[in-house]
């Protein structure tokens, strides 16, 4: 059963130094507040995992929390590049960042394999690209029935997963809707999980398109209204596109980033 706790306590219980951790969200419901708490708690040596590392990952990388990034697309959606990510990859600032790079289809299937308790997943992917030359864990696999050669990728098992959702009930059952991405898979792939929610309610009224994660697969729930800002929570808030634009400016040089970072702590 999930424990309902304040954000700082929940983060300290779930995200530890050296963890392989995903803060998932596909443009929608990105757990920014939890990410900022990880920065405040000074976590180090994280292997950050995400299909679409965006501004929150740029912030975690710039703050020196990460040693490795496992990902498939790293950018500031609709704006451009992630400057802290680039600075880490190109110049090793503030620390070098190891990369493990996949395609979206590969990453999604790696989460599915982990959520399914399988050691690997099979897909039609990566064929003819240079990705397998740079990423060790992409392997050919032969169909035992047809002889066709496909691609295998290993399960993406996580120490911890952090997501944001619209609601939880008092027992810790979690409900999210709108674009739900790979959040269910990330939670099911993780040993420890934390869900920040817009609000805790008495009862989760059924909703079209809603995903419900039962309390017994969630470890911590923290009530953090607007915890996805500047991303959004469908039916609660809209995306703060200005923030994403401003981030381009803030993150461009190390000095303005440092000033921003002092504001978080």
């Amino acid at each position: 059963m999930a424990t309902i706790a304040p954000l700082a306590q929940a983060v300290s219980q779930v995200v530890h130094d050296g963890d392989t951790v995903a803060f998932e969200g596909f443009t929608h419901l990105i757990p920014f507040a939890a990410g900022h708490e990880v920065i405040r708690q000074g976590r180090r040596d994280l292997t950050l995992v995400r299909m679409t590392p965006d501004v929150i990952y740029d912030q975690l990388i710039g703050a020196g929390c990460a040693r490795k990034l496992v990902f498939s697309w790293g950018g500031n959606p609709g704006v451009g590049s992630l400057h802290r990510f680039r600075d880490a990859v190109q110049n090793g600032w503030p620390t070098p960042l190891e990369l493990e790079e996949h395609s979206h289809a590969g990453m999604a299937n790696r989460y599915v394999a982990a959520a399914s308790g399988l050691p690997f997943a099979v897909l039609r992917g990566y064929m003819g690209t240079d990705l397998p030359k740079q990423t060790a864990n992409i392997a050919p696999i032969t169909c035992p029935f047809t002889g066709e050669v496909l691609t295998a990728v290993p399960a993406l098992r996580l120490d911890s997963a952090v997501i944001h959702a619209q609601r939880a009930d008092r027992k810790g059952n979690v409900q999210l809707w709108g674009i739900t991405g790979v959040q269910k898979e990330a939670v099911l792939a993780a040993t420890r999980s934390l869900v920040t929610v817009e609000e805790i309610v008495d009862e989760l009224e059924p909703r079209p398109g809603a995903v419900v994660l039962p309390s017994w697969v969630v470890d911590y729930v923290a009530e953090v209204p607007n915890g996805a800002h500047p991303s959004y929570a469908h039916d609660y808030s809209t995306r703060d596109n200005d923030y994403y634009q401003r981030w381009d400016e803030i993150s461009k040089d190390r000095e303005s980033f440092r000033t921003w970072l002092e504001g978080v702590a």
Binding site: F85, A105, R124, T129, E148, T180
Partner: protein, 240 residues
């Protein structure tokens, strides 16, 4: 002109896998002009989105609210893209070579120490592999249109005709490259991208100068028809 040309290429009733930016604008323009039944699929999991305003990201709420069906990200790749159900995949590129191979990963020869680190693959490798056809929208310049891409993020025709078939890829690969200067199509015999169309007011010398390889030109080179008033109005409406 690039957006209008791209929109025109989309057939009504076809299913289109759309990335954000110009592809999304073009697909939505097509829906508002000649292709009202165009089916838009976004990798965030929205199938049949009919956004009233242009989405700023592929995860915008407007895409979810207006979709016929909303599915998870694993499902969109596994059940919808991978089996070849999508007619057209729309892609951009930082670099593109004469055989339509795409780079969105790194600029420079050394992956471990790149000159420029780009966002990476995203959905593109499997879009390029599995859609029946791939349409590309790329601004033409010698830096973007290169002899050989520094990194093959997504496969076009590899080293030429027959490579896709040897790898077992089902889609036909890049069939159309729409630029700010004109349109390129693969030569049926060699799969080399060949200029088949120039936009109004663009001369051939410019197109050649803005291409980093010795650009082949179709003997049947034509000029793109000017945007109609209806197209321009719809585009203004969409981007207002």
């Amino acid at each position: 002109m690039m957006t209008v040309a791209a929109a025109r290429a989309l057939t009504d009733g076809s299913v289109c896998f759309v990335g954000i930016g110009l592809p999304s604008t073009a697909a939505n323009l097509a829906r508002r002009t000649h292709a009202p039944d165009l089916v838009l699929v976004y990798e965030s999991g929205t199938i049949g989105s009919k956004p009233a305003t242009l989405p700023l990201s592929i995860g915008d709420g407007v895409l979810a609210d207006s979709a016929d069906s909303l599915v998870s990200v694993p499902e969109i790749f596994n059940y919808w893209l991978q089996p070849g159900r999508v007619d057209v995949g729309f892609l951009g590129a930082a670099q593109l070579d004469r055989f339509g191979n795409i780079n969105t990963t790194v600029i420079g020869d050394d992956y471990r120490d790149p000159k420029v680190r780009l966002p990476g693959a995203g959905g593109a490798p499997e879009i390029a592999a599995s859609c029946r056809e791939v349409f590309m929208i790329v601004r033409q310049s010698p830096r973007a249109f290169v002899e050989r891409v520094d990194f093959v993020t997504s496969l076009g025709f590899g080293t030429g005709k027959g490579d896709r078939e040897r790898l077992g890829l089902k889609g036909r690969g890049p069939q159309l490259v729409i630029t700010d200067l004109g349109v390129l199509r693969p030569d049926p015999d060699t799969c080399e991208l060949t200029l088949t169309q120039l936009h109004p007011g663009v001369d051939l010398a410019t197109a050649k100068a803005k291409t980093g390889w010795d650009l082949r030109v179709s003997p049947d080179l034509v000029t793109t028809e000017r945007p109609t008033d209806q197209e321009l109005a719809a585009l203004r409406d969409l981007t207002a």
